[in-house]
């Protein structure tokens, strides 16, 4: 399991625009880099990131090899209600890692 650093405010006022910061540890191997034996290392990147808010998708990103290793993504969403914010990263092999944080909206 890769490490995900997530920064989401624990509380927010209803209607407030909150900033979500994420950092996911992954080498994001581009497929253009030669390995020690001279052959190109195969591509292996996180190609998709989805953020859900109480189950509804609020942000989605398609990532390409030009994204730096350990993908850093910052975006915003409106704090509509208390609940769970889900963040998931999917790599080229179809493996998905999901993290959840709760937010209290008053």
């Amino acid at each position: 399991m890769a490490r995900a650093l997530i920064n989401v405010p624990k509380t927010a006022r209803r209607g407030e625009v909150i900033e979500i910061k994420t950092l996911f540890s992954h080498p994001m191997e581009t497929g253009f880099r030669p390995g020690p034996n001279g052959q190109l290392l195969p591509r292996d990147i996180v190609n998709r990131f989805v953020c859900t808010y109480n189950g509804e998708e609020v942000f989605r990103a398609e990532l390409f090899p030009a994204i730096a290793a350990n993908p850093y993504l910052v975006f915003t969403t409106v704090a509509t209600e208390s609940g769970t914010i889900g963040l998931s990263w999917t790599d080229d092999g179809g493996n998905t890692q999901t993290e959840s944080v709760t937010i209290t909206v008053s």
């Binding site: 808010y53 030009a66 290793a69 975006f75 409106v78």
Partner: protein, 153 residues
């Protein structure tokens, strides 16, 4: 240029070969401009991309091309009728033109995304925003890269 039997003369064959070789020696720069133009055309699907409303923040001098922070912000009320639906980022001289596609909507509240990209060499980066009504707006920034990405580490 053709001999009596219709066969091309030696002079013509050599001239033809020379022009082929010069095509192969075209600097990567020319191919790169085509790569960016093609990628933008593919994203635009026939619509015009206008400059404005989008702000691409990219440092002009990059020490390490392996990790280059950038932020894209778009002026938009982000309401159901008027919001940014998608932000696409393209580059000019990496092996591939795509960098990222972000899908937003009214629930974003603000059209602002940040990430870090790789830059293989000094080049232009373009951010295009597709609005809810289909219109396209863009901003472009140039970065000089001291240490190229993709080649080591």
């Amino acid at each position: 240029m053709y001999g009596p039997s219709g066969v091309p003369t030696r002079r013509r064959v050599l001239a033809g070969a020379a022009s082929l070789v010069s095509l192969a020696l075209v600097r990567p720069g020319r191919a790169a401009e085509g790569q960016l133009t093609e990628a933008l055309a593919g994203f635009a699907e026939g619509r015009e991309i206008r400059r404005g409303r989008v702000k691409l923040d990219l440092v002009p001098l990059v020490e390490n091309g392996n990790t280059v922070p950038l932020t894209v912000t778009v002026e938009s009320p982000m309401t159901a009728e008027d919001h940014v639906a998608e932000i696409a980022i393209f580059n000019e001289r990496n092996p591939q033109p795509d960098v990222a596609r972000f899908h937003l909507g009214p629930r974003a509240g603000r059209a602002s995304v940040s990430t870090r990209m790789r830059l293989a060499t000094s080049q232009n980066v373009v951010a295009v925003a597709r609005m809810a009504d289909g219109s396209l707006w863009s901003d472009e920034a140039y970065a000089v890269v001291t240490l190229a990405a993709c080649l080591e580490g």
